[in-house]
Point group: C2
Chain length 148, copies 2
DNA sequence: CTTGACCTTCCCATCATTGGAAGGATTACA
DNA sequence: TGTAATCCTTCCAATGATGGGAAGGTCAAG
């Protein structure tokens, strides 16, 4: 199986498969004489595992831990559970932070006429030096919500 | 006022003030003979506005729009409201996505013994080729939740 | 006049991912 | 068999917002 077929079968792009190999998340793969990577069902299975972990928002670092636990038949389920629960904690803090932003903004928007007049509580609040808006300050990684 | 004092007064780091200037979010500022940037109260006020918008999760691009609306006395409140509500939509979609991840993981963790035994439903689910875990796939920007 | 605290610009790193260029390999079809 | 299309390879760059740090200039207090 070439990388393109493995990408199709696993749902991980060819670009990312090469990247995962380069950072050591997956081992270096067998090549043909001409340098093409060759994948088997086992590799695709691993890639699917990785994709599902990504879909659950695990970082590559966490995924590396999960993969090695997956491949360790002697692993203790508490190690896996600890990673999962730590991630749940991160997710829930982030959810709370976004909810605070959202409710503040909804409140401001509710009090804004939204017509042609220049009076706008949203702007006024942003410009108000005494305002304490969202207590949760987003970190860099989550500040920008726009899609590329 | 030097950049360090402006940073203290506004809550925006000196690094970021220079960055905002470099991308045109704030205009080029007056310099002393020796090249030091000089800020006045008005500039600090603008920086506070920007910081509050950042704290609400607006992207720099959105902030640029908000700043120009703020400084436009003829602006229509509907323009501001539209930006705010669009942002609320983004926030809520992201919240929903994170909630789905979180509840899936909590469910899996609940069914995991978390002891020394190797049986672990979390790993088994990740490895299950038929599994449909989180329907919401995080985009690149939000996939990794780990802090740097 | 020295010391320390500030400022300047410039480059690099983050994190996961995408895009593209340049060039070689393989496949499909006439 | 020739050739065109489609793959593959590596390498480099960009994303967004921010922090870190180096090398060197400036200023204020002692």
């Amino acid at each position: 199986m070439n990388i393109g077929q493995a990408a199709n079968a696993s749902g991980v792009s060819a670009k990312m498969i090469r990247y995962y190999e380069s950072i050591g998340l997956i081992p270096k793969i067998v090549r043909t004489e001409s340098g093409y990577r060759v994948y088997g069902d086992h590799d695709v299975h691993t890639l699917r595992f990785i994709r599902r972990a990504r879909d659950l928002g695990f970082s590559v670092e966490q995924i590396a831990d999960l993969v090695s636990l997956w491949q360790d038949r002697e692993r203790a389920s508490k190690d896996v559970k600890a990673i999962a629960l730590e991630h749940v904690g991160v997710l829930e803090r982030k959810i709370k932070e976004l909810q605070e932003m959202s409710s503040t903004l909804k409140h401001l928007a509710r009090t804004c006429h939204g017509d042609g007049r220049p009076q706008c509580p949203i702007i006024e609040e942003l410009a108000n030096d005494d305002a304490v808006l969202a207590s949760a300050k987003p970190d860099a990684k989550f500040g920008a919500l726009g899609k590329p």
